[in-house]
Symmetry: C2
Subunit: 471 residues, 2 copies
């Protein structure tokens, strides 16, 4: 740790020192680069970084962190910049550390089914590598084509297969991190069993780069799923989705259990490029997926479907018989987000325990309907994980400013309802800067104080992604 | 936090204050109680607690911790006291906090498949509760009849089903803990997805009570396995076990993959109460288990077995056809520990990544054989997790003292070899006091410094299970 300060040096002079720490040309300060690398998918903050630096080795990352400590300059880690909470935004003269050149898969361990990745490996790259080995990397979500493993770990990314495979956390066998003091920690040594004190690896997963930067990650792979098969089921009301989930979960190992409302489906079908699942109109739909590895499993699924129909929980349904049909059913769910983006939706990513979902959803619906009867509410999400994506569409006759002003009020009600149901204000998108001021709805003051004290252990000068999660 | 000290009070007077914090009769100071509650299954340390206290509520636990801070008296948490690292030993005038009266299952959530447990719930009690609900609690090990959930969480207990279900960590949906300042933290709210900053829950899992005490835990349950079926396979050498593991893992979801040596098997068969799996003598055996949910799965297993025989990796094998046969095959593995206890074994619980197991095992074998050719080495363990139990039997003509003196030398070599292979000196038994002085073989000085700093955040006065993990 170097606590010397060099207070007289200008920013320009500091950047000249930074340039000596990496390869030639690997520090950028042009406006286009600052703008591109200074932000993620959120649009709330104007990017204003001091420079972008591209390390190629662990030692260069350590040198950059030591430099930042000397000059008391904040560092913002940058992966695929697909985040939705502004955790990768540099809005206050920070230096962005971009991992684009640390993007190699370094090793594959056949018996351990692990892959040693540099942080800049793209999620899709790891998925394809696994496929090539006859295996499977199960964490999957919309931005897998550009998100990077380091960023996935920073936000503990979730997605559409969590019900079976869990979050990114479950797939991290070991981590190498550079802490806020420039120290390199090798965490967990890629072991399955290791009962030697606090599992520090877990702290860095989901820490959004505020404790240190991931410079290498060993990720686990899994057996590839066999004959994935989807069902789309229509239900007479939202509450019926719960016994359907329960019935299928008791009979099958589900790989997904998603839901969407009739309003969400109508928007997708109006595009004209996706076939409907069936003709019956239902207020809510469940999309479930499982491995039909044998005939018996498919028969079990059909029997469970029939049981659900008999109980009145399901009005109609369809099961995929081919890869093409599987893809088409998934489009009904996966196209929602892109389709509704035309209506400038107010979006929230919230979660409660699964059993509380129906009451929670009714409460939110009632609040919005009572106060803003003209607002169209679109629900969809990972219902098997208790994770709901709430989307409120902007009425055509309302200006953006008016709409967002009203949504700010809704936001408070939503978070108060989340708190009442003991839920999370950010299920899988992280806190970053956009949820920072609402953190107390999901974490107690005592917890936040503990988090800040832990931050001080690993980053005493507060230079690692400053202002993210908390101030 | 109360930092006032009451230095003049005698221990007797302090205990009188303690008695006012719990129900009448719930503080014991008689010799039998001090001896019984002052130790776990390890025998290296003489128990010497000041008193045993039995809280019945969270508030009482908080009051006890505040009392301990005032009087600067160490607290040792006590569950089933089945630990093998002396983490639950009170050898230095600590007060033992026994959770025997906080042993209720408080709630069951059908849709979340979660059970809210007090810390004193016995593992078996949770397993039976799950069974009663048609579900399954998959963490299982020899001491499940007396170990408690609080203790399981403290050591992140593993056992025989880790290859499929993971460690205790995977099954903790939420935790309530009382930290070393007496503060109650409710961690993770039992959510599946919760991306709101550092997951403090993870820190307390495996912390051996050094950061705080678990006062409530929400545990996840799983679908009950269908038609569990075991195979015992004999291999021509140890190295053949690895391709066998690989072949089966690519075809089936294994629920267990254990191994044992011919010497281990001979000891068990000599008891006369367990039938042999087959007649062929082999130097090593693998026991694997899977759900034969359908005929096709069983056929797949047989085809894989035949493939392994053709490749020369397997010499002989047997597959269970009934629950009774399944139990009998498991006895060949499960009886080893108890059977060899007659030979006063030197035991170690070590792990490396799975791919390194053969070379690691050969190294240890060579070291012991070269230096102590008269020592009989018995290997068994959870090979699918890279977790080996090394047992060296005492030669009859060697005194206990001589044997243990020689084992202390072996211990150093074993841990040096563990370090060389980047493994763990404690795979699933924890550090406690028995591995404390060897921690540096598995954790760097920088990591240990971070752990101590984190301990100071949650337990500034060092009263929570002092002297465990580190000094």
């Amino acid at each position: 740790m170097n606590r010397l300060r060099v207070p007289q040096m200008t920013h320009a002079a500091q950047i000249e020192v930074l340039k000596t720490l990496v390869e030639p040309g690997k520090v950028l300060t042009d406006a286009d680069s600052l703008n591109a690398y200074g932000k993620d998918w959120t649009k709330h903050f104007a990017p204003a970084p001091l420079a972008i630096v591209f390390p190629k080795t662990v030692e260069q990352v350590q040198a950059i962190v030591r430099w930042a400590n000397e000059h008391r300059i904040g560092l913002v880690p940058s992966g695929g910049r697909t985040g939705l909470s502004a955790a990768a935004v540099a809005a206050n003269g920070e230096v962005v550390v971009a991992f684009d050149y640390m993007n190699q898969i370094l090793a594959f361990n056949e018996y351990d089914r692990t892959v040693v990745c540099q942080p800049g490996v793209v999620t899709k790259q790891l998925q394809l590598f696994a496929e090539d080995k006859g295996l499977y990397y199960p964490v999957d979500f919309a931005s897998s084509g550009s998100s990077q493993i380091g960023g996935n770990i920073g936000t503990n990314a979730g997605g559409i297969k969590v019900i079976r495979y869990g979050m990114t956390r479950n797939w991290v066998a070991g981590l190498k991190v550079v802490t806020g003091t420039g120290e390199l920690l090798e965490l967990n040594r890629d072991l399955i069993k290791n009962a030697t004190g606090y599992d520090l690896r877990q702290l860095f997963i989901g820490a959004e780069g505020t404790l240190g930067f991931v410079v290498e990650a060993t990720m686990r792979l899994e057996r590839a799923p066999k004959n994935l098969t989807a069902m789309v089921l229509g239900t007479p009301d939202f509450d019926s989705i719960m016994p359907v989930l329960h019935a299928f979960q008791n009979k099958l190992d589900l790989t997904a259990f998603e839901f969407f409302s009739d309003k969400a489906l109508a928007k997708v079908l109006a595009r004209g490029d996706v076939p409907p699942a069936f003709e019956t109109d239902c207020p809510f739909y469940a999309l479930l997926e499982f491995e039909a590895a044998t005939e018996e499993v498919a028969e079990q699924a059909l029997a469970t479907f029939e049981h659900c129909v008999e109980q009145g929980w399901v009005l109609d349904g369809v099961m995929s018989q081919s890869e093409q049909q599987l893809q088409n059913l998934w489009k009904l769910r996966e196209y929602i987000s892109e389709t509704i983006s035309h209506w400038t939706p107010y979006k929230n990513d919230i979660s409660v325990t699964v059993g509380k979902v129906p009451a929670f959803l009714h409460d939110i619906d009632a609040i919005v309907e009572k106060n803003y009867p003209d607002f169209e509410v679109i629900w969809f999400g990972h219902i098997g994980d208790g994770n709901l994506h709430l989307n409120i569409l902007k009425p055509e006759d309302l200006s953006k400013d008016e709409f967002f002003a009203k949504c700010a009020v809704v936001n408070k009600w939503v978070f108060e309802t989340v708190q009442k149901y003991n839920g999370s204000i950010s299920a899988e998108h992280g806190v970053g800067m956009t949820k920072r001021d609402y953190l107390h709805y999901s974490r107690s003051e005592a917890e936040i104080a503990c988090m800040k004290a832990i931050k001080a252990v690993f980053d005493p000068n507060g230079i690692m992604n400053p202002g993210k999660i908390f101030n």
